[in-house]
Symmetry: C2
Subunit: 515 residues, 2 copies
Amino acid sequence: MASRLLRSSYSGSLRAVSTASTVRPAAVSAVHQFSNRRQFTASSSKMASSFYKDWEPEGPTVKTEIPGPKAKEAIKELDEVFDTRSLNMLTDYHKSVGNYIADPDGNVLLDVYAQIASIPIGYNNPVLQDAARSSDMVNSIINRPALGNFPPTDWASVLKTGILKVAPKGLNQVFTAMAGSDANETAYKAAFMWRRQKERGGPQVEFTAEEMESAMINQSPGASSLSILSFKSAFHGRLFGSLSTTRSKPIHKLDIPAFDWPQATFPLLKYPLEEHAEENAAAEQAALDEVEHLIKNYHIPPAAVIIEPIQSEGGDNHASPAFFRGLRAITKKHGVLLIVDEVQTGVGATGKFWAHEHWDLQDPPDMVTFSKKAQTAGYYFGNPELRPNKPYRQFNTWMGDPARALLFKAIIGEIERLGLVEHTARVGDYLYGKLEGLAQKYPGQFANLRGKGQGTFIAFDNPRRDEFLARAKKFGVNIGGSGQSAVRLRPMLIFEEKHADILVDALEKIVKSFQ
Amino acid sequence: MASRLLRSSYSGSLRAVSTASTVRPAAVSAVHQFSNRRQFTASSSKMASSFYKDWEPEGPTVKTEIPGPKAKEAIKELDEVFDTRSLNMLTDYHKSVGNYIADPDGNVLLDVYAQIASIPIGYNNPVLQDAARSSDMVNSIINRPALGNFPPTDWASVLKTGILKVAPKGLNQVFTAMAGSDANETAYKAAFMWRRQKERGGPQVEFTAEEMESAMINQSPGASSLSILSFKSAFHGRLFGSLSTTRSKPIHKLDIPAFDWPQATFPLLKYPLEEHAEENAAAEQAALDEVEHLIKNYHIPPAAVIIEPIQSEGGDNHASPAFFRGLRAITKKHGVLLIVDEVQTGVGATGKFWAHEHWDLQDPPDMVTFSKKAQTAGYYFGNPELRPNKPYRQFNTWMGDPARALLFKAIIGEIERLGLVEHTARVGDYLYGKLEGLAQKYPGQFANLRGKGQGTFIAFDNPRRDEFLARAKKFGVNIGGSGQSAVRLRPMLIFEEKHADILVDALEKIVKSFQ
């Protein structure tokens, strides 16, 4: 099937999947006009109006194998200077548009991987083009500030109308960073400083000479003997502190020195959830008990617990709101901070702006980290005690990037204007329903379907996962995996019912091609 | 004096220092015309032509105390959401131009701190404005790739005509990163993987089950028991791995868990160098002996030694080329990698593109890290064995930022077109000569003057350093400090003899005001 498709596709632009009926969401019926701004080269005859006028092609186009001849040549050249062994698809970003990713050989795929879950509102979004061309953006690009020393005059305004406009409930402060890893690590630093300050007796208590001397030789008490507790199969980044909390795969960790920090079991839920309610609740309680045990007994006490709302790299592992409420209660009880890593789950993909809004927490997390779809990074906090007691304790040269903060502001504007969080919740339900149909029709091929009610943040397991992902490209879709066997769907926030239809059609073709 | 200056300055735009005679460097006599691109609001009557037409004011303007009333109000607002205790000067980046930094109260200072040594070729550089407005830049801003998986079609070209065009001799590969800290940490990771691979017997030897299992619980052998050796008063960043090699000040390290990694003594040279040749040579030999001793005996063996060509945050500590050649020889002898941290010294400021070019090394460093003036970050390497033996070992979502890589390419273009490295070598000599004069005239005020022959990378110690820096603003100059008592000069690469005259004049006024 795949080879036949590829053969015929050389003779012209073949639609790899049938053109789906266009289901226009009501929330976005006010189409915005953007003229004189187009960089897309896909011919307009293939376009169908949607969130923006003359925006996307009607469906994918598969013209060659991927990589095709042009890509192969470019990859060979790139490999001379840059490691290409993890290369998935050489990308033509000038030709990519909306939900569609293009390559140099003219292939255009529906992209539900989105640069590892990080493109928020489509390639070459015209509103972001405007933002990128603004004089403020140009200024931010060429006059990069050392934010802690020389913040721009309008930095408060950029924060308040951007990053902080969408701050999680209860958290009204931000420390800006560069990416998910350093967002988490600076949050860890804040946690360690907070905890030691408490142990010392408050912000006014000065450091001892012994602390200052021992810190300089990396020894306690100056370098604290404290830890961050994370969960098995968690992913929190790959620098030395964050990697010590990452427990995804050996290949991520091998040979790198690590801190002797504790890990608790992440509850492994069984699906369908409604058939395993009791078992799953027991698994969650056992995990909570283990967390409490480690907090009380681990030989290097945790200053904080970090957790993803949905373990993403680890295989799309979910837990119930009750589990997370329990975790908040235990950490609160023992004076341990709770850091919620929303690097992958944040900014709308789960049908809430922040995934932890699904939990209905009584007390907010102490810190929430973000990156990816925000296109900038950092951690939110609310407790003023999380500001270190002296300046320059939490500091670095750039402390983030105002250019990327401006981009997030523009992204937030579009999310609000188009109602993309509610939209994603609805499209996610639509997609989940279709996938349930496929799961029934093809037993074992869409195993452990999960993410119901979590927007488009949906995954399932397939026994031939790697081949599944490879074949997806042949059927016009770019999909990523996670964990050992999960196919993870990470559409952008502009993913509509019509795209869901194209996706579901392609998924069915993949499993049929296995038969 | 200062108060008189401030009083009179309210009555109009007062030149805080006399207008220096314009010494036009021959290398830049071909003035480029840039029309229709100006965002500068300083009136053109104050402009004097230089590298670019109608570019900079003729000198600083001090209108108010700094912070002035407008800045104070904005800082108060900012402090509600962002820690402002390390704030040095709220900055109006729209009004800053060339070597001059502006604030919201109309103060315009000659900036020889340059966002902690990171602005390369001036605020609002017109050529960078063009680069920032290009369609490639807009595309890079709004379509941020996961570079390891989905590199842009032209990524090889962007690297070869940008970052790699200025690669240090012998190093033709790059791993791109976000900032200095993660550039260093990814270099450390490469070092650990390289070392363990050698110990294992080569790239083809598979990990053992024990390694894979122990790595997941942060224990050896999977998490290696290896270290990075750094030097006392070194600064290599503030994330957990880099901070374990940073030895600048307790405030940078207190309360943060650290790896038990070794430090060697950085030779403390006495000035003037020519009067202490023998002593200094002995100090350097002692430091080299200590490095060798630690390499051979430290209980957690170093996989690499990291060193700054000039310790910057640590107080502008220099060592001789012979010392660095000795370090290269010792590391080579013991199979330990040498990482040169050029985050602050790189990109021209020392009168060579890379400061380690001053050393005349027989064998290049194994890795060279960069950030700051490059406006992007990463590490260079040459040895193919430093590419990990499997994909995804050195990987993260963004792996740098193509937008910032494009900016570096434009910066490199201007550096080459205008001959700014040679220019900086010459202006540095000019400035150093003037400072020698001040040092003679004001004994003890410009102590341990250092950086001769190192471009404009010059520093001296002042007994009232903090007050010295504070007063500098009153006399129209923005200067930074480092270490305990150093005044560090970090002009941009477009700093000319005329700016040196303004700076020297202000420095003299500062010390006179102390008398």
